[in-house]
Amino acid sequence: MRAEMKVLVANAGDLNSWQNAPLQQPFDPLILSFLSALSAHLLRHYREHSELVALGFWLRDSQVAALQQRLPAGYFKPVGRVLHITPNNVDTMFAYSWVCALVMGNNSLVRIGQPDAEQVNLLLSAIDAIFAEQRFAPLAAGNAFVHYPRDSQFSAQVSAQVDARVLWGGDDTVNAIRALACQPRCRDISFADRYSAALIQGDALTDDTAISDLADSLWRDTQPYFQQACSSPRVLFWLGDTAAMSPLMTALEKHANNVVGQSIEWANNQLVYEQLLRNQDPGARTVHRSGVCGICVEQFHPTMLQWHLGQGCFVIQTLNTMNELPQRIDAKLQTLSYHGVEKAALVKLCEDPSITGIDRIVPVGRALDFSPLWDGYDVLTQLSRQIVLE
């Protein structure tokens, strides 16, 4: 069994140490120093990797302090030993998942699916470099980063021992892990299949600058991981004047061409998706297919995203009023980003009793900003115990 297991960060913990190393106090000064050092390292050495820079910023002292301040008052202890099954589609996500466990003082075993992906590899090297410092040895022992094959029994073995499992993946993956026996008090924090949408008020797009600003923001949410992150908008709900729709697509095309150049693969995937959508919605109308693809559908339904491959495809549904939105979405809608919409209208939307999805409502351009409040969970409190002291 151990032969197929690879420990990926030599200076971090191994399969024995991560279970046996003592837990830490949440936001212990040693943890804060470690994160500070990791942040500095990422910001110094990986300037050209925007996802690593974003992580570096997220780990700055002030940001970590803000995390601590957001905790409710009370006395917290780590939940214990945490297994992380991390996603392949977002290279840096394993680090966010792990850091949430680490700041609360937990020990972690982090399963990484694609250790050879470039940014994953760089990030693992960065973690290795910081753990190499002797002062962080007490933390290093309690955190292990591993890869093992999907068909391995290892998830079952570890599941039987841990206090919490953080599961990122598709519904099938999450269910498969949750079916593995675990301790009676083990907590599962599951991040399963989700999709995201943007809500755009067309009346606000009255000039070229407004359109190009929106395109910049929308592209910021689309480009990382080629739109394959759960938080990247795949659907555009369009209110009001549609005159800016086509110019917006043209502005997005320029961004796409700057980043991926002309890609036959993108073009072909967009064609495939267009044909699949036409099968699902006979009234589907392609408004743009060059660089990015925009397809207006008459009756959006979340099943239309089942074959969505990212790579610059936007399903567009026009709405006469916000009241039409709840019937179009379901519990799997994670992030609704918005542009030109009043906050009061968004509050009213949330209050609609039929809303079962939507865990985040953020301005367009900030859909991918990670927060420990994710998918409706507060990951930090989920990965800790609160002691009642009266």
Binding site: P87, D151, G169
Partner: protein, 362 residues
């Protein structure tokens, strides 16, 4: 044109020579058949009607024939027959994690595929059934009723041979004693060797480097299935032929281009190394971005036309293969019609959506 009229026109086509009909005349034969197939599938396959139904028929030129992207056969169950008429379902050998394509055949379509394949391959291997060495494992054929395209390919070709001998064992290792026995028995006569290009290379030719050369100088090697892995190893078609001849004695090596979505109407390689459209099929090249048709010589995505399938809407498919039309009616080999070269396949898109961390088997 009704289905009955289509059937008559198709039968008439079977009476014509496979490679002697000039392009203009060939198109005049094919276009009404393609119009009839389009109408047939619009009527009998709802998905096809939704995706491709919104065009004017009859077609006045080949470029007007709408196409399905080949990947749709992986995502949708595309068929134009009732379930009780399904005779066989072909499944492409999708790699792990990839959805296999499903092709629904009835007896009529399957029968057309067999007839057409016979007409085409007779030009490469003659009419006699030859002793046949199959570079594959017997485990692949007949294992279960769900037919993989690989098994279907082998079974389709087995018709052209006799004394079928499998060159590989259940574990995909060469069965050298079976191979040597076959070579000894048929040393001085024509034989047929068939396999998928990469497997012929990987599991047979490459391993012959450390063994005595075989003597199959009267043999013909038919192979198909894509060059991607060989190109990654920097093996060209010319290298392939040279090494095959050096190690097996086979001078007559014939590559052909076909796909599970259009079984039967394969494009075979001539002495010039060009892949020729048979009478029953044709090819257009489209710009991968604009999807406009491109003039001969320019590389693009291949749109494959075939007048065979009535059980599924596969008469016009936009492939993910890049290639070019090298010419028409003017190949030095004498065959009429268009001939092409294949340049590369598009990389398979990884589904890196959220559904990807660990896979189903945990």
């Amino acid at each position: 044109m009704s289905l009955q009229a289509y059937t008559q026109a198709f039968e008439a086509l079977l009476g014509l020579p496979v490679y002697d009909v000039p392009q203009a005349e060939k198109q005049a034969h094919l276009l009404p058949l393609l119009s009839a197939l389009h109408q047939h599938h619009v009527t009998h396959c709802e998905a096809y009607a939704r995706i491709a139904g919104d065009v004017a028929v009859p077609f006045t030129q080949q470029a007007d024939v709408p196409y399905l992207a080949v990947r749709l056969f992986k995502h949708l169950a595309l068929k134009s027959i009732a379930d009780e008429d399904i005779f066989r379902v072909l499944r492409s050998s999708g790699t792990t994690g990839q959805q296999p394509a499903q092709i629904f055949l009835d007896r009529a379509t399957s029968g057309r595929q067999s007839k057409v394949l016979v007409n085409i391959l007779q030009h490469s291997i003659g009419k006699a059934r030859l002793p046949m060495l199959i570079i594959d494992s017997p485990a692949i054929v007949g294992k279960d009723a769900a037919f993989s395209a690989r098994a279907a390919g082998i079974q389709g070709l087995m018709f052209f041979g006799r004394d079928h001998t499998y060159a590989l064992d259940e574990n995909m290792q060469p069965d050298w004693s079976a191979i040597e026995r076959f070579c000894d028995t048929y040393r001085d006569q024509p034989v047929l060797v068939f396999g998928f290009t990469f497997m012929v290379w990987q599991y047979w030719i490459r391993l012959l480097a450390d063994r005595p050369c075989l003597d199959l100088k009267h043999g013909v090697l038919l192979h198909s299935g894509g060059w991607k892995k060989l190109h990654a190893e920097r093996v060209s078609n010319a290298d392939f032929k040279t090494v095959v001849q050096a190690r097996t004695g086979i001078a007559n090596v014939v590559n052909f281009y076909g796909m599970a979505e259009q079984v039967g109407s394969v494009f075979t390689e001539c002495e010039q190394g060009h892949l020729h459209a048979p009478l029953y099929a044709d090819v257009l090249v489209r710009d991968p971005y604009t999807l406009q048709t491109l003039p001969h010589g320019q590389p693009g995505l291949l749109q494959m036309l075939s007048v065979l399938p009535t059980s599924y809407p596969g008469h016009s498919i936009l492939t993910e293969d890049m290639g070019r039309v090298l010419g028409e009616d003017d190949c030095p080999c004498g065959r009429k019609g268009r001939y092409i070269s294949i340049e590369q396949r598009l990389p398979k898109t990884e589904l890196r959506g959220c559904s990807d961390t660990h896979g189903g088997a945990v």
